[in-house]
Assembly symmetry: D2
Amino acid sequence: MEKVAIAVLGCGRIGRMHARVLARHPRTRLIAVYDVMADAAAETARELGVQAAASVAAVLADPALRAVLIATPTPTHVDLIIAAAQAGKAILCEKPIDLDMARVRACQQAIAPLAPIVMIGFNRRFDPSFQALRRRAEAGEIGAIEQVVITSRDPAPPPAHFVRDSGGLFRDMTIHDFDMARSLVGDIVEVQAMGACLIDPAIGAAGDIDSAMVQLRARSGAMVHINNSRRSAYGYDQRLEVFGAKGMLIAENRRATTVRASLGAATEAADPVLPFFIERYAEAYAAEIGHFIDCLANGTTPATSFADGVAALAIADAALESMRRGASVRLD
Amino acid sequence: MEKVAIAVLGCGRIGRMHARVLARHPRTRLIAVYDVMADAAAETARELGVQAAASVAAVLADPALRAVLIATPTPTHVDLIIAAAQAGKAILCEKPIDLDMARVRACQQAIAPLAPIVMIGFNRRFDPSFQALRRRAEAGEIGAIEQVVITSRDPAPPPAHFVRDSGGLFRDMTIHDFDMARSLVGDIVEVQAMGACLIDPAIGAAGDIDSAMVQLRARSGAMVHINNSRRSAYGYDQRLEVFGAKGMLIAENRRATTVRASLGAATEAADPVLPFFIERYAEAYAAEIGHFIDCLANGTTPATSFADGVAALAIADAALESMRRGASVRLD
Amino acid sequence: MEKVAIAVLGCGRIGRMHARVLARHPRTRLIAVYDVMADAAAETARELGVQAAASVAAVLADPALRAVLIATPTPTHVDLIIAAAQAGKAILCEKPIDLDMARVRACQQAIAPLAPIVMIGFNRRFDPSFQALRRRAEAGEIGAIEQVVITSRDPAPPPAHFVRDSGGLFRDMTIHDFDMARSLVGDIVEVQAMGACLIDPAIGAAGDIDSAMVQLRARSGAMVHINNSRRSAYGYDQRLEVFGAKGMLIAENRRATTVRASLGAATEAADPVLPFFIERYAEAYAAEIGHFIDCLANGTTPATSFADGVAALAIADAALESMRRGASVRLD
Amino acid sequence: MEKVAIAVLGCGRIGRMHARVLARHPRTRLIAVYDVMADAAAETARELGVQAAASVAAVLADPALRAVLIATPTPTHVDLIIAAAQAGKAILCEKPIDLDMARVRACQQAIAPLAPIVMIGFNRRFDPSFQALRRRAEAGEIGAIEQVVITSRDPAPPPAHFVRDSGGLFRDMTIHDFDMARSLVGDIVEVQAMGACLIDPAIGAAGDIDSAMVQLRARSGAMVHINNSRRSAYGYDQRLEVFGAKGMLIAENRRATTVRASLGAATEAADPVLPFFIERYAEAYAAEIGHFIDCLANGTTPATSFADGVAALAIADAALESMRRGASVRLD
C-alpha cells in the first residue's frame, strides 16, 4: 500500500502534534511542514526529518503532494482551504472552519465546484471508547436514544489573550461537544445555553465565559446536556453517557495506569485522568488520519465533513444567542 | 429517652412505608393510622398492631399525640397541615405541599401565628451518600461549587391517570431534584427547562412529559443540570455529581450486593441498581424521621422546612413556564 | 407468627452485639442474658430491657425458653452446648466449638442422642453478597469452580493476651475462611499453610502468627487460596473471588457511602471499607438468626451445623500442622 | 540519537511481534531477521522491509549489528546466547533461558568472561501499571510489603504438543509470576505449590498441569500467592495486589475501551479484558526494548538480567519439586 504524501500547515502545538502522528503513521508520508513563523517550521522539520517549506504556495505546488493538514490559526482556515482545493489537494482542517458563519458559507460555495475531499478535525469521534459506544447504540443495544450527557472539562484555562481570538467558549471548545451530540442523535433543532465566568475574571474581562451548561433537542426528540469548564483539578474530564429505552452506555475517563490505592483515608483511588487532548486522544488522532486516508483511497465523504463543521458552528452560534437572549433558540 | 407519639395520615404506598418505619424506629411510637379508605387504614393498622383512627379529628384529638405524618393525596395536604397546626401537633408532610402556589402561600400565612414545626418530606437529603457528599463539599474539599449534575430516573412510568393529578413531572418528580439543588448551591435565580414525551404517549395525552432536562443558575453563580426520565431499564437511577474549583465528588447508585461477574462477553458486571425509592432510600427515610424527632426535641427548624417546600415548588413552576415559553425564567 | 424466646449466654462484645440483634429481630424475643461477670450482664439487660439471669441453670430452667445463643469464651462452649442440649434447647454457638478436637468429638458424641438443633456462628455465609455469589455459582453461571481466592484481613491486631487464649490465627480467624471455602467447594482434602509474624512482635512472643497464606485442595479438584492479616490500614478487608470454567464472580468490599472523590492527586477515591465485623456483617448476623429460626420452625439442620464446625476446625488443625512441618497435610 | 542496529532470531509468533516492535521503535533499526524455517523469516522480512538472513552466522557476522533478540525455541537459547556473546553482541533473550538448570549454569559460566549485556524478556516488569505500582511501593506508600497476590490466567490452553516441550506450567508460564514476585519482594526462600489438571485432560496426559496455586516466602518475610489457569473465559487475566503495613496497591486488568453498559440484568458491565499478551503487554514490549537500549547506551545491567532468569527458573524448579513431594521447598 502506497503511503499518502501529506504536508502540515501550521506548526503550533496542535500542528506539531499532527505532524508527529503523520510522520509515524503507517499510511502517510509527511513531506513538508510550513508555518508563517519560519523558526517553528524549521524546528518541526528538523525534529521529523522533513522539509520546511518556504511558503504555502511552495507546499501546494508539489505535484507529489496529495493532501494538506491545516492547523494554522482559525482566521486563515478559509483561505487555505480554498487554495488547497484549487490546487487539487485533499484537506484535513482543524476545527472550527471559521468563527464567522458568513465566511464559512462563502468558503463552502467557493470550493463546491472543485468537490475536494474536506475533513474537519473533530478528533473525538475517533476515540475508541466513544466510537464503540456509538456503534453499540446504533446497533440498538440500548434502544432509541432519549438522553445524552456530555462532560467536557479542560484541565486549565487558556490565557486571556487566546480567549480573545477564540470566538468564545462555544465556538472554540463546546464545538467538539456539539459535533459529538450530532454524531449520536443527528440534527439539533433547539438550543438552551447558560454560561458564567467562575474561574478566571480575565476571561470575563475578555468578554468570554469559562463555565457553561447547554441543553439541546434533536429532531429525533432526544435531549442532550453538555457541561463545560475551563478548569478541572483532576485532569481532562471527557465522559459520555447515552441513555435509551433499554439501558445506558457510559464511556468513562482514561488514566495512565490501572493502579488503585487503598490507604487509610480512602480506597480504590485511581490516577488523575489523562492530562489533556494530546494524551487523551492520542489514539483518536491516529484513527482520524486513518479515516482521512480511507476517504482519499475510496473517494468517500469523511464522517466529519465540511457540512458537519458548518452544523456544529451553527449550534455554537445558536448557543451564544440563547445565552445572550435568555431564550431557547430554534435551528430548523 | 421517651418515644415520640406519632400518627400517619394516608395509608397508600408511601404512607404504609412511613408507618412501617415509624413502627420500628427506636425514637417513635406509632399510635394511629388513618385513611379515608377505611380498609387501607385497617390493613395497615393490623399489620403494625396500632389503632385505625375513625377520622382525622379523632387522630388530632388525642392529647398524647405529638406529631402527624401526612401522606395523603396532595390536594388534602394544605387542610391537614392547618388542622394539625391548630391542634398543636408537629407535622411531617410529604412533598409537594400543594400544586398551587397561591394555596401554599395561604397555608403558610394561616399557620404562621401557630409556629408549628413543619418538615417537608424531601427524603433524599437524608440519604447517607448524598449527605456525606454535601458535608464534604461544605467543608471545602472541592472548593467553591461550580457545577452540579443530578441524574434522577424512575424505573417505570406511572399510570397516565396518576400523571393527570400529579401536577406534572416538574412538580411531582423533579421537585426532589430542585430541593437537592438548593441544598447544594442555595437559592436558584434562573431556570431553563426542556421536556418531551418519549416513553408513553398516554402521558403526553394526559398533558404531561416523561423526559426532561433542566438547567438552573444559583445566586452563587453555580450551575445545575438535572435529567429526568420516567423509565430506566436498569433500576432507579439516582446519582449526584458536584464539581468545584478543587475537584469533584460523585455519589453513585446503590445495589443489593457487591457481586461483579466477569463472563465471556462482559466483565465486572454489577447488579441492577436498587429498584425504587423504598429500597433506595430505606436508610434515608429512617434518618428523615430521626431528624424530625431531633427538631421536636430541640425546637429547631427542620432542614427541609415549609419554606424549602415553597422554594422547590417555585422552581418547578418556573421550569414549567420556561418549557412552555421557550425562555429562561428568572426567580429573583 | 410467634416469636422465638431466646437467651444470650456471654455479654462480651460479640454477645452484646447478638443480644441487640435478637432484641430487634422480628422473629425473636430476647428473654434473658447471662454473663459470669454480673456487671456485663446487668448492663446489657438494662440496655435491652430484659432480665439478667443469675446463672446458666436459671436460664435453662425457663420452660418458655426455646433456644440459647452461646457467646461465652471458647473453653466454656462444650459444657454449655451439652447443658443446653440436655435442657432441650436449640443452640446457636459462636465459632470455634472448642480449640481441642478431642473435646469437640466428645461433645458431638454426648449430644448425639439428644439430637438438638445446633448451629455454629459462621456468620459470613449469611452475608448477602457472599450468599448471592454462592447461589449464582451453584446455579452454574461460571461453570465448574476451579479456583477460589479468599481475602480476609482484620483492621487491627488483637491484644497479645487475647492471642494467647485464641488457639492461634488459624483456629480463631482463618476458621471463618475455612468454612467459607467448604461452603463453596465442599470437602477439603489437602492443606498447605505458611504463616509469619510481620505486624506485632508481641503476637509472635505469644506463640502466634499475624499474617498467613493457606492453599487448600478440595475433593472436587478445586483449589482455594486464603490470605489473612491481623492489620489492614483501609478497614476490614473481606473479599471473595470464585473462578470457574465459564468466568469469575467477585464479591467486593462494602463501604458506608457510594461517594467517590476526584481531586488533584487521585480520582474516584472511595470511603474506607467498613471498619469491622459488626458493621460489615450487620445484615449477615440478622440473616443468621433468621436461618436459625427457620431451622427451629422446620426441624431442619442448619447450613452451618455442628459437623461444619468440626470440619472447619479440622482444616485449622491441619493448617497448623502444615505450617509447623513444612509439608502438605492430607485430610482424607 | 543513533538508532541501534538489531536482528531478530526466530520468526514465530513472539519473534514476529518483537520484530514489528523493533521496526517501529524510535530507538532501534531492525536490520535482519532469521528463522530456521526460511519461509517464516522471508515473510517477516517482507512485511517489515528488512533482510532475511541465511544463517545465524551471517547475522552475527555483520559488524554493524549491535544486538540480537532471541525468540527461537527454548532449547536453542543457550547456544545462541553463547554465539552472540562471542560475536560481541548484546542479547535480549526470551524466557526461559533453558529448561535445564545445569545448562543454564554452564551458559552463565561460558559467557562470564565476555561480560555481554544480556537481558531476559520478562516483559511484565515493563508494564506501565505494574511499574507504577512497584515504584509507589518502593517509595514507601504502603509501608513494608507483607503480602502479594498475583493473578495470572491465560485465555486458552495451548495445544498438548506445545505443553510437552514447554518444561511444564511452572517453567513456561508461572516463571513470569516468579520474576514479578522477585521484583516486588526480593529473594525467595520457600515455595509451596499445588497443581491440577482441571481444564484439558490432554495436558494431564502430556504430564503437565493447567491450574496451579503457589505460595512463596521472601527473605524479607513477605508472602506471595500466585494463581494460574490456562483458560479464562473473560480474557487474559493479569492482576497484581500488593498489601503492606500502610495500605494496598492493586493493578487491575486492561480493556480496549472504557465503555460500561447498564442494561436490565446487569449494570456497569465492562469489556472483556484484553485478549492475550500481544495486546495486554504492547506498551510493555516497547518499554522493554527501550530499557534494553538504555542499558546498551549506558553499559548498565538490565533490570531483568541473566541472573534474574536463573533465579526465576530456580523457583520454578522448586515449585515443581514442592508439588511432587507435597512439601515446602527451601531455596536458601
